[in-house]
Every structure is written in structure tokens, then in C-alpha cells.
Chain length 158, copies 2
Amino acid sequence: MVDSINKVAVSPMSDSPIGEALHQLLHAYKRALQQSYQARGIDFGIGHIRSLKVINAHQATPASPCTARQIVARLQRDKAQIARLVKDLLAAELIDKHDNPEDRRSQILRLTPVGEAMLARIQEAEQHASLRMARGLSQDEMHAFVRLAKSMTGNLKP
Amino acid sequence: MVDSINKVAVSPMSDSPIGEALHQLLHAYKRALQQSYQARGIDFGIGHIRSLKVINAHQATPASPCTARQIVARLQRDKAQIARLVKDLLAAELIDKHDNPEDRRSQILRLTPVGEAMLARIQEAEQHASLRMARGLSQDEMHAFVRLAKSMTGNLKP
DNA sequence: TCTTTTAGTTGATCTAATCAACCATTGCCG
DNA sequence: CGGCAATGGTTGATTAGATCAACTAAAAGA
């Protein structure tokens, strides 16, 4: 029995809430970030900002300097797009290019002092948005979330 | 001690991995979905598909029929964009419009049989991608993830 | 009735993403 | 060494998605 009690159109109920929840969350977060950025007069898209962050991360380990290549790998975006983002960041003088002694095709990207200052403001803005997002969640929960997200990303990568 | 062992450029380390992890995950998931769709010959963007799903969800509760309005509310997209998505779905004959006796400005959207069949295939594709994404995770973990995602989305909404 | 909202549509514009073609350099292999 | 495929980067073109403004028609409210 129960078989035809309610004809629930197509799905037997409870869609696949993961994708839905994910999409919803990212959209909301993107908007919150943009807001937080704009409130601080930071006038760049998310791509620009993420690129800055990658460059900064490499700055910390001078052994592996940052070229456009690294950003492409980290952000998994088309290299054409990265080239444009980098061009913008150069124009804004947030970063500069240095010849790469190891490979004359590529150039090493580094934050300028202005870029570092900008990044500091960006991180402030992010923390603001993150705190807002995490309101009511414990550290453990946040940590668990990130762990799960990374795990799932890993599953999808190959 | 340890205080100034490495000068980590700007951030004191550990960025804000939440945003990063989130972005990474959504991107990977989006690609996996697209792949899964394409492998099944489903030739629509994610927006179209999500709209179909909203219409289907309303189908289950005949009390509240689906108009473009509902899709706008559920997906939180610009109504212009939804209008275009709906137009495409109509053109593909996956849905049809019926006069709304309650309000002559709007029209009720319903899946056609073709639309239902399409949706079934979509759900198959999604389950494939979701299973892939969730490989190695327990039901509890998946559930926790969705709960946290929804909670965070809620925090950001206002 | 007159006014204000609301649902939906269209046009224009903007950004992000993607693809293909291309140059310079590098690395490899005979 | 000389040729050739692979790599890093750049540019142009195209596309999809999102967003904004303007507008119609109907509804709701005063």
C-alpha cells in the first residue's frame, strides 16, 4: 500500500538538498562579501581579490614565487581570465612583475606596499562577512564544515 | 617565542578558509553537474534546471501553484532572468502556462510530460554527481553539512 | 475613482567564463 | 647542434549570467 497515496510529481520528495543548499549559500556569501567590500571602498571583483590572496600566500614562502601559472592552478580558472585579472592588478599598482631568473617566459608577481595595505583591508572585510555568516556556530562546527567541503571538493577533483 | 619566526606577508596565516573552501567546492560541483548532465544529453544551464525543479516542487502541493514569482522567490534571482529562463523552458515544451484564475497578471507554470521525463533524467544525473561528491562521507556528515550550510545562509539573508 | 503595488516582459549593459589563435621560451630527442 | 613538441602568457571573440531601467497590465487600497 501507500503506493499511490500522493503522486509527488517526479521526485519521491527531498530532492538533492546538497546542491541546492550549496548554491544558495554561495550566492548569499558572494553578496555579503561584495557588500562588505563595497562598504570599505574596495572596488574589485572576487576574482581579483582571490588572485591577490594567492600572490600573498606565495609571498610567505619565498621558495616558490608566484607566477600567473600558480594562480591558474590554485583558482582553477582559465589562464586567459587570470591574465586579465593580473593586468588589472598591475594597472592598479597592487602588484608588480619581476623577471623570473628561472624562466624568461614567466614573471614573478609580488604585492606592492599598496597591495599589502589593500589586502589587509580585504581581510578585514572578509572577517566581517565570515563572522556574520558564522553567527551562532561553534568553532567545531565551522571546522567541520570546512573539512567536509574540502573532502567533497577532493572527491570531485579527478 | 615563535613570534617573528616567519613574516607571513600580510595575514598571520590561515586566511579565511571558509570562503575559499566554499568557492572551490561550488565550482567543482558545478563542473561535475554539468558533466553529468551533458553525459546524459541534458542541454540546459543550471538556472533552467533549478527552475524546473521549483516548478516540480510546487506541483506536489496543488494548493500553491507555481508562477514566475515563486521561482524568483525561491532562487533569489532577478525576475528578468527568470522570465528568460521560463521563456526557454516554454520553447522547449518542458512546461506550459495556464491562466491563473486568482490573478490575471500571472500564469501558472506546470511541467509537461516531456518536462517530467526530463526532470527524471536530471535527478538521475544529480544523484550521480552527488554520490560522487559524497563518496566516503557518512549520512550524518552529509546531513550536518546541509544543516550548517542552511544555517549560514540564514545568517546572511537579512 | 485615483493611486500605488505587484507580476511579468523586454532592452541594454556588464561581468565572468570559455575558446581559439598566437608568440616567446623552454625542454627534449634524435 | 637543430628541429619540434610542450609550456607560460597574452589577446580577440564569443557566450552565458546577472543586473538595471523602463514599461504594460492587472490588482489592491484609499
